[in-house]
């Protein structure tokens, strides 16, 4: 039988498949951060169980960590306790932790690929919905809850229901200045935040092949925003090139063995997907979200929609609510919307490529009066690389703040946040109400779009720059 890549990975990881219970699948890699793990460690301890395979785990601290003045103690006592608990738990269980002071520290989904910890064909989990990021390597990677974190630590397996398969084809090539982020937002806009529910997406087509590994990570990262369990991109030469020589990548004879296996993983010619969605790369304009759900997006050359433009009653009501929350009027041109704060960073857009393109746009500009602009690298390695390339100077000269790595304003747990009514251009992944601070208004964009908005003080169609 012809199989999709998802089906190949699924079949090779089935441990138990018996009638009357959910199939058990094996987990190769388990990623951790401080927010969703403490209760799992507590549960493990209370039940007298041990971590089955400590080498399968890589942990970092990212959600609550300050992005400036790291040498000072964490001011928030509850965050401080969570950070300390993470360190204690990792120490007690012999786990590899990149703590706040470690030069490898950063956002989990940025750090893990940097060290070659995820390979094609693996099953990868993390108590974090953006685990989908690692699908960029052709790994089945998905977010789990804290009870499941405990389950995986204790058993190295998870009871799972097999997903349906969705192929998202992006034909042709992207236009200049459209990016992986714009593809992700355009897909979410097209199929909705529940469009992928119950599915694993495989992204195919020439526009996907043309994406760098960083771009593929951005794309897969937001598979969850379309409701999908995971996103996948078939591995190719770019994948192998990226992995080769990294710390946890196979070496020596193992490299050739692994490579042969990875090459066998791509979906068979003619394998059937349960559903297929097609986009034309050239049609994807730089996207801007206007509402409070990642499906509420429009091209930068568009306008804020009117509730009446939605035939569906639920969508009409959602539009009304979003416009009220966002303080926007229907039919306002997107390029007329002002911004107060610009954030470049997160597991979606906190990689070197993101800072390169943003710096290209920011070079020689000044942050507009009244606007605050934050550049928060996804990891210390990204930070160092950017500094080696002189990108930090470009941002600083343009009036940006150049920070230490962390999740920062993506979910505003660490003190970096919007105040009520403030409006951001953000390269993160969610524009939910209050996501970046209570009453804060988030517009999701690509790094180039964010950098242009910082200089202009409002959104700009970067294709016209």
């Amino acid at each position: 039988m012809k199989k999709t890549m998802y089906e190949k990975i699924w079949d090779s990881h089935l441990v138990v498949d018996e009638a009357g219970q959910a199939p058990l699948i094996y987990v190769d890699r388990h990623l951790m951060h401080e927010v969703t793990s403490p209760q799992a460690f507590e549960g493990l301890k209370l039940s007298g169980r041990k971590v089955r395979n400590p080498h399968s785990i890589l942990a970092t601290m990212d959600h609550c960590v300050p992005t400036k003045n790291r040498h000072l103690p964490i001011a928030d006592p509850i965050a401080k306790k969570q950070i300390e608990t993470m360190a204690d738990n990792c120490h007690e269980n012999g786990l590899n932790l990149y703590d706040m002071k470690n030069p490898n520290n950063g956002v989990i989904h940025v750090v893990v690929p940097e060290h070659g910890f995820v390979h094609p064909g693996m099953v990868v989990v993390c108590g974090d919905s953006h685990t989908a990021t690692h699908g960029a390597f052709g790994a089945l990677a998905f977010g789990i809850g804290t009870s499941e974190v405990e389950h995986v630590m204790a058993t190295q397996t998870l009871p799972q229901k097999k997903s349906k398969t969705m192929q998202v084809v992006v034909n042709g090539s992207l236009s200049k200045y459209a990016s992986a982020k714009d593809i992700a937002l355009a897909i979410t806009g097209k199929i909705g935040t529940a469009g992928g529910t119950g599915y694993v997406i495989e992204y195919t087509g020439s526009a996907i092949r043309e994406l760098s590994m960083e771009g593929r990570m951005t794309l897969c990262n937001m598979a969850i925003e379309a409701g999908a369990r995971a996103g996948l991109v078939a591995p190719d030469e770019k994948t192998y090139e990226y992995l080769k020589g990294r710390e946890f990548a196979p070496a020596g004879d193992y490299w050739d063995q692994a490579l042969a296996y990875w090459k066998s993983l791509t979906s068979d010619e003619g394998a059937e997907f349960d559903t297929t969605v097609v986009l034309e790369g050239a049609d994807i304009a730089p996207q801007v979200s206007w509402g409070t759900s990642p499906e509420q997006v429009v091209g930068v050359d568009g306008v804020v929609p009117s509730p009446d433009s939605f035939a569906d009653e639920g969508k009409r009501k959602a539009c009304e609510g979003a416009l009220a929350y966002m303080g926007l009027t229907a039919n306002t041109k997107i390029t007329d919307i002002p911004v107060d704060l610009v954030f470049i960073g997160s597991c979606t857009n906190g990689r070197i490529e993101d800072f390169r393109i943003a710096a290209e746009v920011a070079k020689g500009t000044k942050v507009a009066p009244g606007v605050t602009a934050l550049a928060v690298p996804g990891s210390y390695h990204v930070k160092k690389q950017a500094e080696d390339e002189g990108l930090d100077k470009i941002f600083i000269e343009a009036g940006w703040e150049w920070r230490d790595p962390g999740c920062s304003m993506c979910l505003a747990m660490n003190g970096d946040e919007l105040t009520k009514g403030q409006r951001s251009a953000s390269t993160s992944n969610r524009n939910f109400e209050g996501r970046q601070g209570k009453g804060g208004r988030t517009h999701l964009v690509s790094p180039a779009m964010a950098a242009a908005a910082a200089a202009a003080g409002h959104f700009v169609d970067i294709r016209t720059l």
Partner: protein, 203 residues
């Protein structure tokens, strides 16, 4: 986990789609290292005014919904983040049942790990239930998981589908990990094979 028993309870209504986990439990409450005590923060930003008083406009603050164990909500409930703090907050607040047309995957899984029955209904059924609650706020529904039935005073009752594995675990209150560890020999055997097939993962 407490076994899920047949019960009748007030059904509260949230007539909103795409309720995300950032609303269910906003991020400022995710820093605790315990599982308990999240109920008072459930829907915090909608539920409380800036001065900390109850927001009378928020549906769950209606006196008629006080003590509700059943939550009837719009499409795609629980979308967004994987935070299990969301079902912890829902359960701690007192809900043990959610009725909606659809749920985000991770949230749905998380519910069943915490004794919450998440029931899927058709759009038509949901609209009937919503209309019934709107007409009679405080109406009590009966949920019978054993027989996969919901009964309502106005006769909008229905039977629902549920995965037998999830149903069994809810009814018995059994721990998933314990069930999986019954297969520990199979896991060990798989690992032996895995080491042969993928030695580079174990190097």
């Amino acid at each position: 986990m407490e076994p899920y028993l047949k019960h009748d309870s007030i059904a509260a209504l949230m007539d909103r789609n795409n309720v995300d986990t950032d609303q269910i439990i906003p991020k400022q409450f995710l820093k605790k290292v315990e599982r308990s005590g999240f109920g008072i923060h459930l829907f915090h930003d909608w539920r409380y005014n800036d001065d900390g008083s109850d927001n009378a406009e928020f549906e769950l603050n209606k006196p008629a919904f006080k003590g509700a164990k059943i939550l009837v909500a719009g499409d795609n409930f629980g979308c967004g983040s994987s935070r299990e703090h969301a079902p912890w907050a829902i359960a701690d607040y007192g809900f043990n049942t959610i009725i909606s047309t659809s749920y985000a995957d991770i949230f749905y899984n998380n519910c069943f790990k915490n004794g919450i029955l998440a029931i899927r209904v058709s759009q038509e059924q949901l609209e009937q239930l919503m209309a019934e609650i709107n007409a009679n706020e405080g109406a009590r529904f009966t949920v019978d998981l054993e027989n996969q039935q919901v009964i309502t005073p106005a006769g909008n009752g229905f039977t629902f589908e549920i995965d037998p594995f999830r149903k069994g675990n809810l009814l018995s209150g059994l721990d998933d990990i314990g069930l999986t560890l019954k297969h520990v020999d199979k896991i060990s055997a798989y690992e032996v094979q895995h080491k042969q097939n993928f030695p580079w993962l174990w190097a």
